[in-house]
């Protein structure tokens, strides 16, 4: 394994049951993600994108196969260690933002730092700095209900960055935004990527995928294409 591999997905399958029906969400996925990459995962609904995202983010475990994150084989870890990996190595950005409504922006950004055991002064400083990075210095004490969708998503991105993770996983990050806010979020992702942050975005929007550097297409739980973004038009 190359030292610059952040995520290595080897023969990953995931089977779950909807009632009594067996659903094969992933049928054997192999993807390597390198440091500094900006990867889009595309595909129609039900192709397994979200499931793959959850497995990469250590929220879920594969039925078979292996996931290495920063060269650690995560299927050997117990639940507590997985929580620690989610906390320190992974930053999630969701379609519905998933901020805690009763906490203000800076408190939401601080949450991962609390679970990392970082003291108040230090985490407040870090959270304020990150809100600066996402351009919300003047909205630090606003509750999510007082923020627009685009602003909420930026808070969520700041939260994802809190513990300097190895990778940011964004699941349809612009799905709930108007196109202008969506563009801003994508531009922010590009900026972060230029700073060296590794990103994986799940999307079904070709426009957005075109802003990334590499596009992986899934269909029925399998990878159907894995090409640099510039060469997508052919398929």
């Amino acid at each position: 394994m190359s030292s610059s591999t952040v995520v290595r997905i080897t023969d990953v399958t995931r089977v779950y049951f909807m009632g009594k029906v067996e659903v094969q969400a992933l049928r054997g996925i192999n993807i390597d993600v390198f440091k500094g990459e900006f990867l889009s995962i595309m595909g129609p609904s039900g192709c397994g994108k979200s499931t793959l995202m959850h497995i990469v983010g250590c929220l879920d475990r594969p039925t078979s196969g292996h996931v290495h994150l920063d060269e650690v084989d995560v299927d050997e870890l117990d639940d507590n260690s997985l929580a620690e990996i989610r906390n320190k190595k992974v930053g999630f950005v969701f379609q519905t933002f998933n901020l805690l409504p009763k906490l203000n922006a800076i408190e939401n950004v601080e949450l991962p730092l609390i679970y990392a055991g970082i003291g108040f002064d230090q985490r407040r400083e870090k959270a304020a700095e990150l809100l600066g990075v996402v351009g919300l210095k003047d909205r630090m004490y606003h509750k999510p209900s007082e923020l627009s969708g685009g602003q909420s998503q930026r808070v969520a991105i700041a939260r994802a960055l809190a513990n300097d993770p190895s990778i940011i996983l964004a699941d349809e990050p612009t799905g709930n935004l108007d196109s202008k806010s969506g563009d801003e979020i994508i531009r922010l992702f590009q900026e972060l990527n230029q700073r060296g942050i590794t990103l994986i975005i799940v999307t079904h929007d070709q426009e957005i995928a075109n802003h990334s550097k590499r596009i992986v297409r899934l269909k029925d739980g399998l990878v159907v294409s894995d090409l640099p973004a510039g060469r997508q038009a052919i398929s």
Binding site: D60, A83, N98
Partner: protein, 397 residues
């Protein structure tokens, strides 16, 4: 290492954001704790009032009371005599004071005024010490005057006012049941005890009881010893002497400690009943808290999912929810203690008595609230901590 300050803050914030629900949830605990604190404070207040009253009448823990008859008889046959009292005075070890009461009815006549006091007693010269009521004018009769059958009488303030008005009665001659006496002293005022005027009293030497009051038998005998620890010995001595003289046990002996024990037992039984009711209230309150916590876990499934996604361990979620439950019950206990103490204070001031702050009950209320909060919080917290993060994130409110 588990940091407990952060989950405590998280739990506190979450409770504050749901103030009304938190308050309603803990109402059962508040009512239970307030009820116990009120009744225990009042009970303690009543106890200290009763003990003070007993103490003010001279009855201390170093005293015993000998009464005629076996304990249960309501109208006992009186058998104790002046000779019995003299024998006890000689034979009870460490005896300090002995005060036999020969209770009779004495008509007092001074000039043209005639009056029958509530109490006319044949007494011993120990009376002022045993019952802590000194003569404030003149003096009480001495042991020599008692033994010498001197016709002297000591009266209470009520009689002094009735017969002599504002003049000092000391040295005046009066008649009791037709027999001439000299007033040699007036007792200090005692006020009333349980509605009876303790100053409406005339005391003559015990040796003259038969002659003046026609009484030969002792109503009851009050004995003190030098020290509390000598009470059991004194009880044994008194029993031995009286049984030897009467050839049977036709009397019974109360110790002051016994009386205090009886009062304490009654109050403790009361406290016990109240505590049982409170325990039920806390149990019901606890079940209510568990119910609300389960609802809260369901409502906050998504929050739990988010927290887990950003790195909360199951343990962190568990601790957060247990803390919420414990915080609810503990704040209920604190509010209950405040409300209960205030209520007790209000009721007792209305009754013109003093409430005692029930510290012991307050501590146990806090402890019990802590245990109830923990016990009924564990199951909902376990449910919360075991939620699958992917499922939880998908949950729609």
């Amino acid at each position: 290492m588990i940091n407990l300050v952060e989950p405590l803050k998280i739990a506190f914030t979450s409770l504050l954001s749901n103030r009304l629900r938190s308050l309603l949830t803990t109402l059962g605990v508040i009512i239970g704790v307030a009820a116990v604190i009120t009744l225990v404070s009042m009970g303690e207040g009543a106890k200290s009032y009763i003990l003070t009253q007993i103490g003010s009448w001279g009855l201390g823990s170093n005293s015993i009371t000998v009464q005629p008859g076996v304990e249960e008889a309501s109208m006992p046959e009186m058998t104790m005599t002046l000779e019995d009292a003299i024998a006890l005075r000689q034979k009870v070890h460490n005896l300090q004071y002995l005060m036999p009461e020969f209770v009779g009815r004495g008509r007092l006549v001074y000039g043209k005024t005639s009056y029958i006091p509530t109490y006319s007693l044949g007494a011993s010269s120990d009376y002022p010490y045993a019952y802590k009521q000194k003569a404030v004018e003149g003096s009480f009769f001495s042991a020599a005057e008692e033994a010498g059958r001197k016709r002297v009488v000591v009266i209470g303030r009520t009689i002094a006012r009735k017969l002599f008005g504002e003049f000092s009665p000391v040295g005046e001659k009066i008649k009791m049941n037709g027999i001439g006496y000299t007033v040699i002293g007036v007792l200090e005022e005692k006020g009333s005890l349980m509605g009876m005027d303790m100053d409406d009293i005339a005391l003559i030497p015990s040796t003259l009881s038969e002659l003046t009051l026609g009484v030969t038998k002792i109503w009851e005998m009050f004995i003190t010893v030098n020290d509390e620890s000598q009470v059991p010995q004194a009880v044994a001595d008194a029993k031995k002497v009286l049984i030897a003289r009467h050839h049977k046990e036709d009397f019974h002996i109360h110790t002051q400690q016994g009386l205090i024990d009886i009062i304490s037992n009654i109050l403790n039984a009361m406290t016990g009943i109240v505590s049982a009711i409170a325990a039920i209230s806390l149990l019901v309150g606890g079940i209510g808290i568990m119910n609300i916590m389960l609802v809260s876990v369901t409502e906050r499934t998504r929050e739990i999912g988010i927290r887990k996604a950003i790195g909360a361990k199951s343990r962190d979620i568990f601790v957060q929810f247990v803390f919420e439950s414990v915080l609810i019950t503990m704040s209920g206990a604190v509010i209950g203690i405040l409300v209960g103490t205030l209520a007790a204070w209000a009721i007792m001031s209305f009754l013109k008595l003093e409430a005692v702050i029930a510290w012991g009950a307050a501590y146990s209320a806090c402890l019990v609230a802590f245990l109830v909060g923990t016990f009924f919080g564990v199951y909902p917290a376990m449910r919360a901590s075991r939620l699958d993060p992917v499922e939880a994130l998908r949950y729609e409110v």
